[in-house]
Each structure stands twice: as C-alpha cells, then as structure tokens.
C-alpha cells in the first residue's frame, strides 16, 4: 500500500469514528439570563444538520414578589435560517410574545419548532423586557449542509 493510499484510507476511516463520537451530530446548549428578578433560560440547538427538526425552548420565570408583564422577542435574523416555524403559544407580533400578569414564582414556556433551512453559522439574541427589567441572551447555531 502506498503512502498516499494509506493516508486516504485513514481519513475515510476517521469520518465514521468522529461521527460515532458525535463530532458532527446535533447538539444543544442552554443559556440563562436574569435581571431584577426576571429570568429566562433558552435551550437551543447549537449544531444541527440541514432539514433536521429541532426545538427552541424559552423558559421565563418571575422571581419577584408581584405579578409582571413580560415581553419576549426572538431575533428575526436568527429565525430566518429556519423554515416551517411553529410557535407555542402563537406570537402576538412577528417573533414577539407578550406574557401578561405572570404570577410571582411562576414560569411560562415559549417553544418553537425549527427546521434548518440555510446552512452556515447563524447567531442572534433572545431579549426580554419588563417594567423594570431588561436583558438578553446570545444564541448561535451551526447548520451543517
């Protein structure tokens, strides 16, 4: 076996090994942000493959002593990489969700089903705002072709 052939075989054999260890597989991450007793936790796909379905989940928690109205907004630039978006609950405006009177100590979940449509690296932010709280988390997803 010649040296070039050996290197080629090694490279080809390396791909399944990497795949088994999940190097190019789908992956998820979770980021948290809090501000003045209002907290959000965003669980999002950090890696996925073209046309694969994944779920973006945002957990909004009110840790203040009184009920709060919270507005949640997902960056449209980030969501443009996906098709077939399905939100639960439905957005009040384009990618804007209003949670009215969230009681103290309670949480609400906003989730979106995403189908990867444009490969490459896509980043954006999830912002939340209340009367006296404001914050955002940065999310980034790599879509393999």
């Amino acid at each position: 076996m010649r040296g070039v052939e050996f290197v080629g075989i090694l490279l080809i054999a390396l791909l399944p090994v990497l795949a088994v260890f999940g190097v190019f597989g789908p992956d998820r991450r979770s980021v948290v942000a809090t501000s003045a007793g209002i907290g959000i936790e965003v669980d999002y796909p950090s890696r996925l493959r073209f046309e694969n379905l994944e779920r973006l989940q945002i957990l909004v928690t009110n840790n203040t002593a009184a009920p709060r109205d919270i507005t949640l907004e997902i960056d449209p630039a980030y969501l443009e990489a996906y098709s077939g978006l399905l939100f639960t609950p439905a957005p009040d405006e384009r990618y804007v969700f209003r949670i009215v009177g969230l009681p103290s100590g309670e949480s609400r979940v906003v989730s979106a089903e995403l189908s990867a449509h444009e490969y490459g690296k896509h980043s954006g932010s999830v912002r939340f705002a209340s009367a006296d709280a404001r914050g955002q988390v940065e999310i980034e997803t790599l879509i393999f072709p």
Binding site: I9, I12, A13, L15, P16, A19, V20, G22, F24, G25, R49, F50, E51, N52, F144, P145
Partner: protein, 128 residues
C-alpha cells in the same frame, strides 16, 4: 451519530444474508432473485438515513460503507492466511476428498498436495 450504527447493522445483516444465499455472479441470478435484491435495496434505504437528507449524513454514510468494506477485506485476507483458517479449510478439503474417494489436500495458496494424514483424518471425521 446514529447513521453509522444503522449502516453498520444493515451491512452486517446483508453480508450474512447474501453469504447464506451463496456466492453467485450477477448473471447466475434468477429473475426472482434479481427482483428480490432490488427490493431489498428499496426497503433498506429509508432505514439507513432515517429521513436525514443532509449532505453531511450522506458523506458520513458513504465513508462508513467504505470503511466497513475495507475492514471486511482486511478480515477476509487475514483469516485466509491465518492458522485457524488453514486448519479449517484443510480439514474441510479432507472431508470433501474422502467423499469423492481421493486423498489429496489443497493448501491455502491453491496447490494440490497428497497426504496420508488427510485420508486418516477424513475417515475419522466420517466415522463421527
């Protein structure tokens, strides 16, 4: 990645199934067997990728198949020249030869060699 495990399982299963059916040239297949092979490909294809239509999955799938094929070749080559395979094939030839009332053995490299031990071993095998 799930796709590698799926492909490996299907590869092993189909290799075993085709071995059980017997080694044949494509021209020796009956029309029924040819249709069956085509249908097997159709049935197995969706299970391999599990609906994943991405280029990444296709590349990894192809690389997995190439690697499995290479592994199969290496194992076949090694077993052909290993002591175990030589012993088994020699015994097999002895039994075959005894049934045709001849007393020769074939070595792994294909040479024909007469042997008294072979005849003895073959007759003892038949007694069993």
């Amino acid at each position: 990645m799930e796709i590698v495990i799926r492909i490996a399982l299907v590869f092993v299963l189909l290799t075993l199934a085709l071995r059980v059916m017997g080694k044949r040239e494509l021209s020796q297949l009956s029309p029924f067997e040819l249709v069956m092979l085509l249908l097997v490909a159709e049935i197995v294809a969706p299970a391999l990728t599990a609906g994943d239509q991405s280029l990444t999955a296709a590349l990894f799938g192809a690389a997995t198949l190439f690697t499995l094929s290479l592994l199969h070749s290496i194992l076949t080559y090694n077993s052909m020249y290993s002591g175990w395979r030589r012993r088994v094939s020699r015994r097999w030839w002895c039994v075959m030869d005894a049934s045709s009332k001849t007393s020769f053995t074939r070595t792994a490299c294909g040479r024909t060699k007469y042997s008294r031990r072979c005849t003895k071993r073959a007759s003892s095998a038949f007694r069993m």
